[in-house]
Amino acid sequence: MENENWSIYYVEFIKGELDEELASKVKQYLADHPEDLEYFNFLNSSIKNLSKQSIEIPEEDLRRAFFNMLEVEVQNAKNLKNKSLSIPPLLHQLLHKIQWKSMAFGSIMLVIGALGSYLINSNQKPETSTLSSLEEEINDLKHMVLLNQLNNQSPFERIKGVQIAKDYQEIDLDMIEILSEKLFFDDNEHVKIAAAHALNKFKSHPLARSKLLESLDMVKEPYVQILLIKIIGEWDAQSAGNKAQELLKNETLQPELKVIVESMI
């Protein structure tokens, strides 16, 4: 190990990906090999320069192409499912496999019986599976439309998207996840506020409640924080109170907002 060339670890060392033990070995190696310093500095500045570099992303084009593709794939999957449920190919396959001449009468009767029961059952099967596959598809499409709306460049459109979600009678896990992402990470405060209200509407759902509680630590905008304290305070006074106390300690909080927070405690 002593003669090992630790310079191959320089990249990970600079990126902070090594554990303490390895990092100290690399550090020592660098101290023992001053001739490597120029190489190390070049690498260090290259990583810094390149990692902060940004490029424009054709967000709308990517999104449109993806959702079109997904729609086609959902449709294909549905067609495939229906096809595999149809009876003639199954019957054909079964009949093809049977060697009639070598079959005894009893076996024929058994096959006919089995086929009969298959036909009786199959009258119900496709209906139920078609229904559930339709439900699945509708659910997928609902998510797609909503995601499209929620990722629109215009904050107004995103708020409209949140409103659509809020108008649902029931909410599922995916929808909660999508709304939480808006509440945690959207660039626009109004979208965050709308998402907080939408999630609060579904506060009877455990995941919606846990996401709202999580947002107390995730959201940094004072106005949204205050709103969260207010709505969470209605069903979890302790968590909301703790956050309010924490917020009061924040010296950068505007005095008028401090007054509001104080009034909530």
């Binding site: 990249v11 990970e12 690498l43 390149l50 570099q53 992303i57 192409a65 993806f66």
Partner: protein, 185 residues
């Protein structure tokens, strides 16, 4: 397992809930676009390649295994998608790589890049295809060496050695570019 981890979502896609792919799209489309743009320096190619990755993830969803990292699996698909395009272009003699003029590198780049960064980019484009890919994974995509090893199906130490060589080559090219610019080339 976290029900919203990449792996769980991909498992759901595998079970036929294709709509779940939209959450994975939200998480990774930017990263994939970056990857392809760094490799191809072409906006349209990058868009197509990005789309191809998501399509292949759906088509070949059964090749995903729960015990594997989703990100590694996705990058392996991305790498294959890139390789297919590259191979096709080579066959068509369009010379994708050489078709990208060094001056064109800045076409879609963010504003305010320093001269050093621009020179580094040009230097990277002068490296071999494999070396470029390695440095892009390390520097831009921020993928760790053990993950790169899984994507490239080589050992982590092999990744480190190859990266070391690539950086040496990069430094050489960088010095050359400095010299060229000083001489007014």
């Amino acid at each position: 397992m976290n029900p919203y981890s990449d792996e769980s979502l991909m498992e759901k896609v595998k079970d036929g809930q294709l709509g779940q792919m939209s959450l994975l799209f939200e998480r990774y489309h930017k990263e994939l676009y970056h990857y392809f743009y760094r490799l191809s320096q072409d906006v349209n190619d990058s868009k197509d390649l990005c789309q191809q990755v998501f399509l292949r993830m759906i088509k070949y969803k059964n090749t995903f295994h729960r015990n594997k990292k989703f990100k590694v699996w996705m990058y392996r698909i991305a790498k294959n998608v890139w390789f297919d395009l590259y191979k096709k272009r080579q066959k068509d003699k369009k010379q994708l790589k050489n078709g990208i003029h060094e001056s064109g590198i800045s076409s879609n780049r963010g504003l305010g890049d320093s001269e050093e960064t621009q020179k580094l980019e040009v230097a990277i484009k002068r490296l071999s295809e494999d070396q470029q890919e390695l440095l892009i994974m390390h520097f831009y995509q921020n993928i760790k060496a053990p993950e790169i090893a899984e994507i490239l199906q080589i050992s982590p130490n092999n990744v480190r050695v190859r990266t070391h060589r690539a950086i040496k080559a990069l430094r050489k090219e960088f010095k050359k570019i400095n010299k060229e610019r000083t001489n007014g080339k």
